[in-house]
Symmetry: C2
Subunit: 598 residues, 2 copies
Amino acid sequence: MSYQKKILRVNLSSKQITTEDLPMDLAKQYIGGRGLASKILYDEIDPTIDALSPKNKLIFSTGPLTGTNAPTGGRYMVITKGPLTGTIASSNSGGFFGAKFKNTGYDLIIFEGKADAPCYLYLDDEKSELRDASHVWGKDVYETTDILLKEAPDRAKVACIGQAGERLSLMAAIMNDKGRAAGRTGVGAVMGSKNLKAVVVSGKKKVLIEDKEAFTTAVKQRIKMLKENGVTGQGLPALGTKVLDKIINDSGLYPTFNFQEAVFENTDEVSGEALVEKQYLIKNVACFACPIACGRLVELPTGLKGEGPEYETGWAFGANCGVKDLNAITQANFLCNQYGLDTISVGATIAAAMELYQKGYIKKEELDKGPELKFGNSEAIVYYTKKIALREGIGDKLALGSYRFAESYGHPEFSMTVKKQEIPAYDPRGVQGHGLGYATNNRGGCHVRSYLISPEIVGMPEKLDPQELNGKPEWVKIFQDLTGVIDSAGLCLFTSFALGAGDYKDLINADTGFNYTEEELMKVGERIWNLERMFNLKAGFTAVDDTLPDRLLNDPVPSGPNKGHVHRLPELLPTYYKLRGWDEKGVPLDDKIKELGI
Amino acid sequence: MSYQKKILRVNLSSKQITTEDLPMDLAKQYIGGRGLASKILYDEIDPTIDALSPKNKLIFSTGPLTGTNAPTGGRYMVITKGPLTGTIASSNSGGFFGAKFKNTGYDLIIFEGKADAPCYLYLDDEKSELRDASHVWGKDVYETTDILLKEAPDRAKVACIGQAGERLSLMAAIMNDKGRAAGRTGVGAVMGSKNLKAVVVSGKKKVLIEDKEAFTTAVKQRIKMLKENGVTGQGLPALGTKVLDKIINDSGLYPTFNFQEAVFENTDEVSGEALVEKQYLIKNVACFACPIACGRLVELPTGLKGEGPEYETGWAFGANCGVKDLNAITQANFLCNQYGLDTISVGATIAAAMELYQKGYIKKEELDKGPELKFGNSEAIVYYTKKIALREGIGDKLALGSYRFAESYGHPEFSMTVKKQEIPAYDPRGVQGHGLGYATNNRGGCHVRSYLISPEIVGMPEKLDPQELNGKPEWVKIFQDLTGVIDSAGLCLFTSFALGAGDYKDLINADTGFNYTEEELMKVGERIWNLERMFNLKAGFTAVDDTLPDRLLNDPVPSGPNKGHVHRLPELLPTYYKLRGWDEKGVPLDDKIKELGI
Ligand code: SF4
Ligand code: SF4
């Protein structure tokens, strides 16, 4: 069947590497990927520990569909306690690393402890070694990847951190295949805190399928559905995720000037269309086994090349910072890839700093004669991204994210975060369901756990009124649970524009032989959600943390289609808790825990 | 003595290469470099020809001090009929090419005709060859230089054109040592029109000095003077030419928004000081034998590296385009180096286009969905520089310079040019003498033939009132004549902040044995100036062309220290003509011609 049924456990302190059998009962309960690794983390660490201490563990995890030819079946996840949020963290990344990782013959790697000197893990289907990494410590993601590839067999793949992870930036990402990121919640800093520079994987161990024939049929059908869908068959292939710029701006949801406004007048200059029209786009790129190919290989007039920008990235450095220079936005994106940083958090942190500066809280002297932190300053986004990456000057403090930064000036209200993580490119005041998703997300401000933009704006699977409250908690719950299934199976969330629970079920069953019903599968998703919730509760989070920035709850949108609206979280949250089987403090009731068998 | 006494004549049509003796009588009359080559051009071509026809000639010329250890003794000049202006053209460039060129055993190379296919000249002290250049045609300056260096002995030097020259942009430069430019009047297009991609020089032929002891003494003294001078010993070494940004802006001379204003509010963000403070500067770089080292090796946050920006370049893409993003300005500079373009003309042409666009003469559709041509748009300067280099879209027309571009819209008045060449970074309305220099310059709008900024603003050799008219024609004449001497001897103009005619005389005499008196030397300068003037008159220029853009003559400066002033050219020009021994139409009188022996 589709698991390799092996876990590699790497104790970085003692340098001991051991192999364990994958607990198949837990695999059935949590599928793999995000779910199974979260369960392991939950069982093995105390949620109150400091995320950057050796007591934290870092798990690289594939799902049963990773490495198969299921559409987008190349994903892996990184699970740990996140240093930016203090919550459980799980970051999903594409590219080619995940599939190759599975070919090593392991489903998961658990890193424990802390190495006494920089090292990297080399893993293939015959051996696993902790190797010295002093020659790449201090080097960026591109250089590190190139150097380590030379020390490995052909077709090896690398996931690593850049300087940002080494220097414990709380926005540090883990980068694989150079341009793909396990980006959010600062997972790169955990890797840095362990002196683990990289994971290099190679190997040829095949991923076996339980029912090959049924699987092949299901794969063909799913690819057809993806091709026929307006978003996955047309929008994303044509313009990548940046197909969204105009849609979101026209809907009055495009946060501008650090969420002070919700419409950006220069969207035409920075949109996905502009990326094509300005001839920056060279070609689409796809992750392993992906028929969608939403990735963009981009070349700037100066010859700088790389992947990006995604919609979220373009927004974070663009509208949110008031910048309309697509060349500068893309440079900031490239720098994040190069140094290993989460683009959303970095862009949003610079935006918050711009508001603090323009309102007089940051003094000019603090900029050390760097470019002025003013909205619209194209130079500033490039400049301070590098400062953050290297933690130089004011970048040292910015590297802790917008919450800690704004708080250090006594004004955390300028940080547009949930649980200290920057919320992405959709103003919740214009999408009530999506906003509820932000507030209740187990890894803080993030859009990929319940992407209600799909029904509320795009109209998939059906069109909902974005200002309507009725039914939204139900939608949020379904999306959150289904996303857990997708993340745990090893697929890309973008498939969900075209596929529903039943479609995933067929793929997963043919692959694993687990014979889930649709209901059981959704129950797995619910189990994962509740497990993550319990981790966070143990870590000290309470219902008070299920909230949005004051600005979004109290200040009406000043103009555009959503003029006058605020986010109505207090009207939504109790229903959501109830629906989840949680008490009014957001704590899962015993019945629910028993029902889910956590 | 200090000449190699040989001319290489290369007929590109017939592929014949011949050697001639340097006419030493003419060498005495014109020194070398710009003077001697201008005399040869004047004698050999019909000034009315099309500059891009095979009938034009292209002369690479060194001076007697080129290749010696006289301070800045590494310069060469390119002399031809300039396609941008239609005037005689002579562009002086530094770096290391000039000195190495002299080591081939030749003082001058004269290119004639047109090759039937792309070729390059390889020249050393033993052989000269026209070689196939099809493998580098279409390649940029950096690639071309690297490839051709591999085909030559160690320590060879390359001067070449990029795509701009190949595609006959009238703003194309000839680039040597990658980052140094014989930049103005479109000399690169002449090279392109001849299918001549590059000149590669190598060789060890020493430059002999007439009176070694006197020379060594003179060199030592001159270096001391340069070190002790405030500009050449402190300002230029510390900040490069960008030492000027603040000085010129504070003096209200810093043309902003295509000369609509004369003060730029964001000068602090783009100044030479900012280049250091933002840590873009890696180190100073010097040309051959130069104790000043005004060059700047710069690295941007994205890792892009190169030479620049100079003051003029920073201004052209910066204040003149309303752009305050030093990262973008430097990128535009790098693109000019890479593709072989004159930064001043390109920046000023984009500025003119911005004014035309904002005033509604250029329609949005013409931009082909490129960035909007609005003042302040950092993306636009980078984007359209590349479009100009490759002559793509609206870049095809922009590549002809601002005059032809603005004229094609029926509004040449938005082109800030003299004789169709863009005037540099000093508003003439605030420096009457300097403006007279612009108007009477033999190669059109250019600041390096009579840099009256030195006395009028910096106060060297003495401080003049910039609004005073009295005495200015005299100063302009002296500066123009002395500059001819410096350009012809093979030195850098920047030495003139510290050195006077007598100082040059000692160097030149010890070097050549010509025993010029100071008066004779200035007479040489005057001879060169008049010869160039006669070339232009024969080419069809008249007194009508000795003018400034209407805006500078009629629209008072709207604000700043020079508020209310216009340039008072009509009050200056008759005196200047008279002083020059020219009639009221600006034609040299017979007496003057006889006196100078032209
Ligand atoms: S949809 Fe995009 S991110 Fe997802 S697997 Fe395909 S290429 Fe990768
Ligand atoms: S002063 Fe500057 S341009 Fe002149 S020779 Fe020296 S380094 Fe070169």
